[in-house]
Symmetry: C2
Subunit: 271 residues, 2 copies
C-alpha cells in the first residue's frame, strides 16, 4: 500500500450526482481537504439494480479511488452503503465511511426512544434491510417505517425539484408515513436533500434528517483520530464521471461554481 | 464468419425491457422464428447518456449477439438506433434493422405531406437529429415537432402506466404538441407503447405511430428477401439481461408468460 499522508485526497463516490450534497458538506466543514469525487453517471441509477450489480460497480469505483491514493473513502450513496460497505472495507486499510450510520446516530441523538421515524430511500436501500440492522447495532429504540421512492432519483437527476408533478409524487410517497404517525424523516438517499425545501413546505411537521452533514462530521472525527487531517492550504477538488452527460454539465456549476480543478470523464473499464 | 442459416436466431436488444414491445410484435408476425433478446438492465436508461457511451454499450451487446450466430439484429431501442446504427452495421454482414426508419415509413405512407407529426422520445434520440435526417432521406415532407420526455422511461420501468401522476407528466409533455397542431404522434421510444392506452384516452385526436409493428414487418421482408426466414417449427425464445432486477421478474411474465425457454443474467464484461 502506498504511503497515506494528510496531503492525500479524500475519495467520495455515488451512483451519479446526488453524492455532491455530501461532497459539499465535507468541503464546507473541511475546506482545506483535497477531494476526489466519482459519479457513475454512465450507469446511474443504482437504486433499482440488484445487490450483486451494485457491489460490482462499487468495487470498480473503489479501485479507481485507491489508485489515486485516497486517505479515506466516503460512500456517498445509500444504495452502495447498504449493499457494498463491508466488501469495500475488506479492500483497503484506509477508513471507509458510509452514509447510513451517521444518519442514524443523528436520529438516536435527537429523537426520543418512542419516536417513529420514516425512512425514504431507493428500493435497493430498503430491501437490503441495512437501516434497521444499523439502528439495532447503534442501540436505537425508535420505530422505523420505510417507504421506497423509486421515482425521486430520476426526477431529481432531470432537475425536477419543484412543481406540481414533483409535489404529487412526493405526496404519494409521504402520505402513508403521515398516517403512521411519523415525526422524523430520514432522507435515505443523497439525492433527496435537493427536495428538502419542497418537503419542508408540504410537511412542516417532519423533522428532517439528512446524512450529508452528519457524514462530514464523522469523517472529520475519523481523520483527526488518525492524524490524517490536512491542517492548512486550499483544497484541490477533482470531479470524475463515467459519462459526461447533459445533467453533469448542468449540475456541476450548481454545486461547485468556479471551485473545481479537474472535471473529466473517466472510464472505469480500464481499472 | 459462422454460417448463417434460417435456424439461427434473430437478435434483438434494448437498454432495458422496453424493447420487449418490439420482440412481441416480431413473435406475433413470425411465430416460428427463434429469438434472442438482450436487455441492458444493469445500465438502463440510455436516453440521457452521451452518444459515446451509448455507442460503446451497443457494441458490447452486438458482440454478445454475434457470438450466438444471430442471422439478423434488431436494434429495439430508439436511442441506440439514433446513435449507434451505422457503427453496428460496420460490425457485421447480417442485416441490421433499427426502429426509426420503420416508424417514419409508416408516417410517410399514411400522413399527407402537409401533416404535422409530433415526435416524443428520449433526450438522446432527439438531440441526435436521427429522425429529421431519416425523414429527409425517405423523402417525407411532413413537418416534425419534437418533444423530449426524459421521465417516461423511469415511470414505465417502475410500472406507472396509468394514474394521476402519469397523466400529469404525459400532459406536460404533450400539451405543447397539441398547441402546435400535431395530428400524428410518433412513439419514438420502445417503452412508450405501454402508455398508448393512456395517450389514446387523453388525446383521441392523435393518430399514434408505433414502430414495433412496422419494424417486425421490415424484418420479415428482409429475411424473406435473403431466404433466411424459418419456414416451420416452434420458436425458441431466450431472454438475457445484464442485471436480474425486480422489474425484470415483474415484466417478463407480462410479456411472454410461459413462452420463454432461457431466461438468465449475462455479464457483458466477459465479451
Amino acid at each position: 500500500m502506498a504511503q497515506v499522508a494528510p496531503e492525500n485526497s479524500i475519495g467520495v463516490f455515488d451512483s451519479g450526482l446526488g453524492g455532491l450534497t455530501v461532497l459539499r458538506e465535507i468541503h464546507r466543514l473541511l475546506p482545506q481537504e483535497n477531494l476526489i469525487y466519482f459519479g457513475d453517471t454512465a450507469r446511474v441509477p443504482y437504486g433499482n439494480k440488484s445487490a450483486a450489480t451494485v457491489i460490482r460497480y462499487s468495487k470498480e469505483i473503489v479501485q479507481f479511488l485507491l489508485a489515486r491514493n485516497v486517505k479515506a473513502i466516503v460512500v456517498a450513496c445509500n444504495t452502495a452503503s447498504s449493499y457494498a460497505l463491508e466488501t469495500i472495507k475488506q479492500m483497503t486499510d484506509v477508513p471507509v465511511i458510509g452514509v447510513i450510520d451517521p444518519a442514524l446516530r443523528a436520529l438516536v441523538r435527537t429523537a426520543s426512544p418512542q419516536a417513529i421515524a420514516g425512512l425514504i430511500a431507493t428500493r435497493g436501500t430498503i430491501q437490503s434491510g441495512a437501516y434497521p440492522a444499523a439502528l439495532q447495532r447503534l442501540g436505537g429504540k425508535q420505530k422505523l417505517v420505510t417507504q421506497p421512492c423509486p421515482l425521486l432519483v430520476p426526477l431529481i437527476e432531470e432537475g425536477y425539484t419543484e412543481g406540481l408533478v414533483c409535489e404529487l409524487i412526493v405526496r404519494d410517497y409521504l402520505e402513508p408515513l403521515v398516517r403512521q404517525g411519523v415525526g422524523y424523516l430520514i432522507l435515505g438517499c443523497t439525492h433527496y436533500p435537493l427536495l428538502a425545501p419542497l418537503i419542508r413546505r408540504l410537511y412542516p411537521q417532519f423533522h428532517l434528517i439528512d446524512s450529508a452533514e452528519e457524514t462530514a462530521h464523522e469523517l472529520a472525527a475519523v481523520l483527526a483520530n488518525a492524524s490524517l487531517n490536512r491542517k492548512e492550504g486550499t483544497a484541490r477538488i477533482e470531479l470524475y464521471v463515467s459519462d459526461m452527460t447533459e445533467s453533469v454539465r448542468m449540475l456541476k456549476d450548481r454545486f461547485f461554481a468556479g471551485k473545481v480543478d479537474i472535471f473529466t470523464e473517466a472510464q472505469l473499464a480500464e481499472y
